[in-house]
């Protein structure tokens, strides 16, 4: 995807841009709202990550202007504010989604993927990692053609790992995305679920896909890249 990142904090912007580029996206960036609006009007982007609090023009106003001009760029608003009113005003202005700081790279990428899937419903709903297939629409997973019986939680965990594959996902991101941000479980529950999933996915005789990367998190991939 071609993505515009508009964020006034240089360090955050630099990391977000780096992470998106590492994930294979073409990225432009700016720290100014007016410049962001000009870029979005002048160039064709698939998606934009706009910080709400920016000098020049805030993210909500930029979104409104872009929508008024008839642009269909997918817009993800990023902010340190989580008030319902802020969220509503952003979505009312025409934003497609809203992400609250502090977010992880994987969460940002997952939101962008979800936006892309929503915008293009004809995209293949099946994620594939080696001989593992995950049908997001039917919520069914198959390994080598054999259906795997999974609970809802296990399926969600597999979905997050498959979406990020081959990149690893941190434990904190997995807990936040599969359980919820209020669940203060440490990583105990996650480790137990990973072991459940490993028993179901990495059957004897199959190539192990679910990898533990100590200090980083977990990854679903055939071999380390």
């Amino acid at each position: 995807m071609r993505i515009l990142v508009a964020e006034d904090d240089k360090k955050v912007r630099s990391h977000v841009v780096g992470a998106l580029r590492a994930a294979g996206h073409a990225v432009d960036d700016t720290g100014d709202g007016e410049e962001a609006q000009w870029l979005l009007m002048e160039h064709s982007y698939d998606a934009a990550v706009l910080d709400i609090m920016m000098p020049g023009r805030d993210g909500v106003r930029v979104t409104r202007a872009v929508r008024a001009a008839g642009r269909a760029t997918l817009i993800l608003l990023a902010t340190a504010r989580s008030d319902i009113q802020d969220r509503v005003s952003g979505l009312d202005a025409g934003a497609d989604d809203y992400i609250v700081k502090p977010y992880s790279t994987e969460e940002l990428l997952a939101r962008l993927r979800a936006l892309q899937r929503r915008a293009k419903p004809d995209l293949d709903p099946v994620l594939r990692v080696a001989d593992l297939e995950i049908d997001l629409r039917a919520r069914v997973a198959r390994r080598d053609g054999q259906e795997i019986s999974l609970t809802n939680r296990e399926f969600s965990l597999l979905e997050v790992l498959a979406e990020a594959s081959p990149r690893p996902v941190s434990k904190a991101t997995l807990v936040e995305r599969v359980w919820d941000q209020h669940f203060d479980s440490g990583t105990n529950v996650l480790n137990v679920y990973i072991s459940y999933l490993r028993k179901k996915v990495d059957l004897p005789g199959c190539v192990p896909l679910l990898q533990t990367l100590r200090g980083i998190g977990f990854a679903l991939r055939e071999d380390a890249p």
């Binding site: 990391h15 502090p102 790279t105 919820d180 209020h182 105990n188 100590r214 200090g215």
Partner: protein, 369 residues
């Protein structure tokens, strides 16, 4: 002795004293006069002119006895009347004080600024009310400033936390695994702490927004069950999970999750032996009662109010119409009871409740914040 009884006692004693003095004076005067009447009197210049005494000593005693009886007939109803009058005066005098007490009891962090009101003009109480309102105003302002400060700090912290998280993800492969895992976990904890502080500041500062909707509480508890079962197993705790099926409440999904996580997390962290989690319909379907009971681990006093978890629960509950929360410690067991409004009664409650708090009497004593 309370103030009301003291006023009654004062009234009765006053009447008794007045009646006693009057009676004593009358008795003494009559006794003297009658005894004077009982003596023979002779004229100073004509000793043979003599008036013989009218009363004998026995007659005087008899008359005084009669007088005593009459006094007693009058005194008993007079005493009873004085008790009644005294009680009535006490109740009337203390009515404004009772009203001030009620208004003070209904105040919370969101309504300090309202102060208390005194309809009757009473110089003594007006001064008291003025000082109370002055104090409440200062407390409310401090509270508001503290909530705004916490909220501002929490917002400010989100940016560096984002940066920390993104940077750590980028350099994680180069760090020793145990260092990287520790840092990730600490950043996650810090993020949760910031979110909780922000939530608490908003709830206590009166700016917490809700997205109230019907929530299948039974399904929500079922969703939480597997995670807490694992945590309980690891802590060598037996989890007795007994919610009724089909319970639906009217609440904010995210806030309700936060409340349940805090209560269940507290029970696992500070409990021992068995933890009972029960949910059932209450008041003929008006409310749903969620009760969490656990034995308090030996030497653990965290559940008795030193942590922020329960404070956050109380702060959130104080903003949810029709919800209430009580805790108690009975024989080494800690009990947390959460009452939530059922869907069917929400509309009715909205018409009758303006305070955002349950009108019902507390089921258990409130634990310390």
């Amino acid at each position: 002795m309370n103030f009301r009884l003291r006023i009654v006692a004062w009234s009765v004693l006053s009447i008794v004293l007045i009646v006693g003095v009057l009676f004593g004076a009358a008795h003494w005067h009559l006794d003297g006069e009658l005894r004077k009447e009982g003596r023979d009197l002779s004229h100073g210049s004509h000793p043979d002119w003599t008036i013989h005494g009218s009363y004998t000593d026995a007659e005087v005693q008899d008359i005084l006895g009669e007088l005593m009886t009459v006094w007693l007939w009058i005194a008993v109803p007079l005493l009873l009347a004085s008790v009644g009058v005294g009680y009535s005066i006490a109740v009337r005098s203390l009515r404004p004080v009772r009203r001030i007490n009620q208004e003070l009891a209904s105040l919370n962090s969101l309504s300090f600024a309202q102060g208390v009101h005194l309809p009757e003009r009473d110089a003594e109480l007006a001064a008291l009310v003025h000082h109370i309102n002055d104090l409440l105003g200062r407390v409310g302002k401090s509270y508001q400033e503290m909530a705004e400060y916490s909220s501002r700090v929490a917002h400010e912290l989100r940016l560096p936390l984002t940066l920390l998280r993104l940077r750590l993800e980028a350099v994680a492969p180069e760090l020793p695994p145990e260092v990287s895992e520790d840092l990730q976990e600490e950043i996650h904890h810090l993020s949760q702490l910031v979110e909780r502080s922000l939530l608490m500041a908003k709830a206590e500062g009166g700016t917490l927004e809700h997205e109230i909707q019907p929530i299948d509480l039974s399904a929500l508890l079922e969703d939480l069950h597997d995670g807490y079962s694992i945590l309980a197993d690891q802590a060598d705790i037996t989890l007795q999970w007994q919610p009724e099926p089909g319970l639906t409440v009217h609440s904010d999904p995210s806030l309700l999750r936060q409340i349940l996580h805090n209560l269940l997390g507290n029970a696992i962290r500070h409990g021992s032996g068995e933890i009972h989690v029960e949910a059932r319909s209450l008041d003929g379907g008006q409310h749903v009662l969620l009760e969490i009971r656990n034995r308090i681990a030996e030497g653990d006093t965290s559940l008795l109010g030193t942590g922020t978890g329960l404070r956050l629960v109380r702060a959130i509950i104080s903003t949810l119409a029709g919800a209430s929360f009580q805790t108690a410690e009975i024989d080494g067991n800690y009990i947390a009871r959460l009452e939530l409004l059922c869907c069917e009664s929400e509309e009715e409650h909205a018409l009758t409740s303006t305070s955002g708090k349950s009108d019902e009497a507390p089921l258990l004593q409130n634990g310390p914040h």
